[in-house]
Subunit: 354 residues, 5 copies
Amino acid sequence: MARFIKKHKQEIGLSPDALYFRGKKKIDKVLLRVIDFDAENLEENPVHTVKEVLKYKDKNTVTWFNVDGLHNEAIMEEIAQGFKLDRLVLAEVMDTQSRAKVHEYANCIYISIKMLQQDEQTNTISVENLSLIVTETVLISFQEKKGDVFEPVRERIRNQKKRIRNSGTDYLAFALLDIVVDNYIYIISILGDKIEDLESNLLLNPNQKVIDEINAYKRELNFLRKNINPAKEMILTLSKMDSDFITEGSYIHYKELLDNINQAMESSDSYREILSDQLNIYHTTISSRLNDIMKFLTVFSVIFIPLTFIAGIYGTNFDVVPELHYKYSYFIMWGVMIVLVVVMLIYFKRKKWL
Amino acid sequence: MARFIKKHKQEIGLSPDALYFRGKKKIDKVLLRVIDFDAENLEENPVHTVKEVLKYKDKNTVTWFNVDGLHNEAIMEEIAQGFKLDRLVLAEVMDTQSRAKVHEYANCIYISIKMLQQDEQTNTISVENLSLIVTETVLISFQEKKGDVFEPVRERIRNQKKRIRNSGTDYLAFALLDIVVDNYIYIISILGDKIEDLESNLLLNPNQKVIDEINAYKRELNFLRKNINPAKEMILTLSKMDSDFITEGSYIHYKELLDNINQAMESSDSYREILSDQLNIYHTTISSRLNDIMKFLTVFSVIFIPLTFIAGIYGTNFDVVPELHYKYSYFIMWGVMIVLVVVMLIYFKRKKWL
Amino acid sequence: MARFIKKHKQEIGLSPDALYFRGKKKIDKVLLRVIDFDAENLEENPVHTVKEVLKYKDKNTVTWFNVDGLHNEAIMEEIAQGFKLDRLVLAEVMDTQSRAKVHEYANCIYISIKMLQQDEQTNTISVENLSLIVTETVLISFQEKKGDVFEPVRERIRNQKKRIRNSGTDYLAFALLDIVVDNYIYIISILGDKIEDLESNLLLNPNQKVIDEINAYKRELNFLRKNINPAKEMILTLSKMDSDFITEGSYIHYKELLDNINQAMESSDSYREILSDQLNIYHTTISSRLNDIMKFLTVFSVIFIPLTFIAGIYGTNFDVVPELHYKYSYFIMWGVMIVLVVVMLIYFKRKKWL
Amino acid sequence: MARFIKKHKQEIGLSPDALYFRGKKKIDKVLLRVIDFDAENLEENPVHTVKEVLKYKDKNTVTWFNVDGLHNEAIMEEIAQGFKLDRLVLAEVMDTQSRAKVHEYANCIYISIKMLQQDEQTNTISVENLSLIVTETVLISFQEKKGDVFEPVRERIRNQKKRIRNSGTDYLAFALLDIVVDNYIYIISILGDKIEDLESNLLLNPNQKVIDEINAYKRELNFLRKNINPAKEMILTLSKMDSDFITEGSYIHYKELLDNINQAMESSDSYREILSDQLNIYHTTISSRLNDIMKFLTVFSVIFIPLTFIAGIYGTNFDVVPELHYKYSYFIMWGVMIVLVVVMLIYFKRKKWL
Amino acid sequence: MARFIKKHKQEIGLSPDALYFRGKKKIDKVLLRVIDFDAENLEENPVHTVKEVLKYKDKNTVTWFNVDGLHNEAIMEEIAQGFKLDRLVLAEVMDTQSRAKVHEYANCIYISIKMLQQDEQTNTISVENLSLIVTETVLISFQEKKGDVFEPVRERIRNQKKRIRNSGTDYLAFALLDIVVDNYIYIISILGDKIEDLESNLLLNPNQKVIDEINAYKRELNFLRKNINPAKEMILTLSKMDSDFITEGSYIHYKELLDNINQAMESSDSYREILSDQLNIYHTTISSRLNDIMKFLTVFSVIFIPLTFIAGIYGTNFDVVPELHYKYSYFIMWGVMIVLVVVMLIYFKRKKWL
């Protein structure tokens, strides 16, 4: 199946605000969860309907409303109406195929980014879409399945002394994006470890398995870059955006985020170059090894060719072959052959062919 | 015939407003069709002359006037005069060779884009030029032949509840462009499927057919990119254009379109890299296979060379060859030969030449 | 001789306004020609001296003054003084080596562009410098030799109904540049035809001639791009220039011109990629063909090696070789050999070495 | 271990102002050092606590406070509070993994850059993070370990006549960055020496060692560029920054710095190209050498093949082989063989195969 | 020695205004020379001390003060003080290692550029640094050694009618830069001649010498580009600079200069591509030639293999080999062999292996 882009015939020509789920359903029931906090208070509740969340909407606190599962159109509809969001925003949330982006709407910012995770079993990188809707007091996050990497943020929220308790939804959004980007770097650094480990293997034991690994890593790096690059563009846009929903103090964080993701891209570039160097080294090693073998074998054959010829000469049945009848002819032949071999060996040695 | 650019001698030096059809005639008779609508009313009529359409021109409704077939200069002339358009615009419509573009005129915007379609039979991508003229109340679309991909838009228009019924010509233009771009993505995703399927074939059974396929896909991707890239530029221009004919609310849609087409380009880049990786893998596989064969054959020959030499020695007709007369000489020779073979096999095994 | 850049020692350090002819003299006598027109009137005269032209200078009509041959300094001097042009402008005209450019002077715009023509005999592309000096009422064009491609423009001028009769010198300049660019596209499209034709030849009959052709086309494309790229930059500058000598209505034409030249560049890019793909295909085909031959020959040799060895064994002259004396030994030897060959053939077949 | 990027699982999701040391501890005890000066006075003291330094803070002199060792959170905390710096700044200081950057804060500029040093023993380039915090009167520099390259700056400070005594913290920061960049150039110039020395070796004695060296240099250049490129961006930002902490007169210095680092990048580009040329030359030399050997050996074998065949013919035991019984047959055979060899040698010579 | 960048340990950390000579001393005694002129008067004197020059400083004429030799700090000091220049400017003059640049100071513009010269003996390009200090009435030029390429400018100055006599120091600076750039073009055009001449040689006689030449030209082109590229940037800056020292009328000249240097860069690009094509052609030719040889030799061997086998068969000493005793066996054997050879030759011919 096409890994980089997917489009089903029936999706062509849909209205841009159609609440149509594009992607693979990864969870059965949609899960809702709310954390509401300001500097002093903290409320953390599992909720079952969108309605329960709406009461937080007009409070002056920061409300983080997380939704796991995107396939339920009814719930999306409820959210759109409850939070007075354009249906376009929710339509974008339901399209898990789109690239990372940030769109500014009248009463919210819509952010989407790919969360990447190393799948330990298949050794490939799995991808999940994260959508954030940032309004003045509410941050709604949408994930494709249960279980996430945001526990450290929740921990920081629970800890009253942390900066996050005194900041708004824009800082919370930053904290979530920060973890996503940290995971990019973590994955690249793991991949980088493996790539650098490969090097020693490459010279010691250059075989088909190594080359398959190199190609697999190349593919993973490609896939990573394909996902990180739009994220970089998105964060660049965000860090330059002049929006009411981003407070002055947050820009420094978004800039820092940009530095991090730039570093991730540059490192993945470096690893790409290393991989291509490794491929070259592999080919050089293999071919020089083959050359050595062929050279040795050829030289070996060449040495025997005149010897066999001489033996052939004295295997002829001519009536008159004077040499055949001297007493020491046979031994002289051996002598001549040995001298020939020695001369050839010296010659080849001098020419550095051996 | 040159697939990427065409120019006939007689086209050189034509006046830019000459209504001269440049392209291949794909339909005999020009077909006209009109849909006129606003939030409440809908009128959908086949029409036979341009005159019948003009009555919609000054109504406040949105009029979608579709023209199939571009070769009839008289009709183009009528449209130019009927809708008070610069002849340059119609001249541009008639040039099916030009790249995707958007030009702003005093009383309209001219948009052209390539519609791509996978031709199932020849397995190549066919291309058709779509031109849109957007005025305040009328959208005129020009296609090269009958039959199009815009049925979903007509369906949405017929459905009173859809956003399209409440929007202007700019949104209608977006809806058409959206389908064109969706088709780009669809074609790339189909091509991508095929390319990714190739991979397993490549390792199992690397033959000339695979390489021909890779080259064919490369050519198709090239052709795609050659057409999509100008479309991307065009949509970028459109999304930044400060025109009276585009309402504030439409920009978000054009931006979304830009995201989509960017994704298409990036994916095609990824597939291009995959194809070039596949080519490399193919060559590596083929050459390592050949190397193995040659190594084996050479080693095989080398083993027999000293044996044949020994046999040659004892085929000589010297009067005095002492070994010939011992009773077990022949068997000793066999023994020596077998030992030699074993020693060589061990040596080659150790050197990993076998 | 250096095709891409030329500089003679004596040209170093010349004053920038020195009227020094840099190039190859392609015509003996300088030819002058004037067309003077407005919407109603048209005058078309061969003239012999610059003085005859000056009378048109202050008329309100559009005057197109064409000069064939650049080597006559006296005439250049006369033009400079007659039309009150900076000597720098004429010095630029006389430098046929320079790249396409547009320079704005106080009372004129100076435009230079390379005219390319397919030389049917040598099958290479010949180049000629075209310089245009655009003032408010006069357009002076300079060509290196007699005979040009501008006849269609003259035809349009003679035809009273054409747009060109109602426009100024800027539109006339556009019309000339348009033909030059059309010729670029024409040449690329011819080259493209040849390149695409090559493809079938490539697979059927890959020989040195094909590769020479590919390299020749590559060189021609390079040469084309080297000349078209500055023209593109020049037209881009022109289309953004805020000059008194370009009327508002002309910008749309210059933009269209830019689209065309962009398309030319993109197509030449595509053909470049195709050529480099073709080179790869050629090498792959050639090397896979060679591999097949070598594999076959090696397998053939390998089959005979053990047979010859066996024959060698029974050619030895040992006193005791029991096999020699059995009645059917010779026939058994033949049998063993045939079995051996069959076994080896089956083995090689299975291994897909044959 | 991944050399280009590192991320530990426990670092994911940390608050951006967490004073968490990311890196390898290279020193046990944090060392502090202060130089305080203006045009007339100079005070240079080792200090043991941050508190001792604070007294300089509000003096009008320039204070250079150097900190060796970044792992002590308590000291960082003290510095943050003592100099009233945002905790974010100190958090950035403690992250030795980040790329070179400059961030503007309300009351300071934060600059970080990588110091590179040729490690003579391992022949690789070691890297150390340098952070500078520039306020109006204080420059705080942070290094990872004891011992630095800034002694020349200290010397210039001690010398009353130097420009540095009359300038502010911005000039001092420039002086430090200047040394860092000078070291970049120094390292590249040393590497460049080695690379250019390689060339002669390459043609004389192309062996595996040379290729390993080329690959090692390539890796080092890659590593260099990976570190210098962000530094370049950083200095570019700095040279365009409109900050209160940089006086008008300093911009010329930052521009000069930018020129230097650009030159460093360009030179490293040149060396990269040279390395890749050298790789090509190596492969060409090796393969042409191998070709010569194989050609010679093959020609050698080919010469013996017909000779051995002739000898074989007269080794047959047919009852009737007339040639066998002529008296001079044996010698004629020798003659024929010699003639054959000569003919073949001449043929091969003519064909330039020998 | 590193050709692209040089840095000595002792240069690290020098104050930016240290008058420290960085480079190779190419002249023993510093030579001074003055030309002072305006439209009417001209004074041209050899001078021995800086003091003699100062009298021209405040005159309203244009003074061109040329200094050959940069190693004398005392003279530099004198110039700095005499002309009231920032010591930074003179420090820059003394650094011959820096790249081409332009820096604007309060009372002057500092320009540096590399003068390139084809060294006829070593066939490499030698480089010399040219520094210009442009003030309102004085142009000071610094060269590393005696003898220059500026004689044509002096000639133009001596000739009262030339534009240079009516222009200021900015035009004089342009005239000098113009000659430097003309020399760039001259060198490239000479190199280009050689490269294009190579082509015919390449196909006729592809040997190691040709490839060494290609690599040498590549290196020279690289070196050229390394020096011309910063010059291009410098001239671009100059042509956009809004400085008091450049009069309105000079910008057209700087723009022209930019065109020229752009053309130089583009041509060197073209030649680079040609060189890389030539390398490819060389490799293709060489490898196709080798393939032909190997194919011929292999086919030759293969033909003898079955013949030798047959001879071997009838060399066996079996008691019963019926064929041995027929009278015509020997001749039949010859017949069979000849038939075999003919069949094989036909087969190989058909397969196009010969």
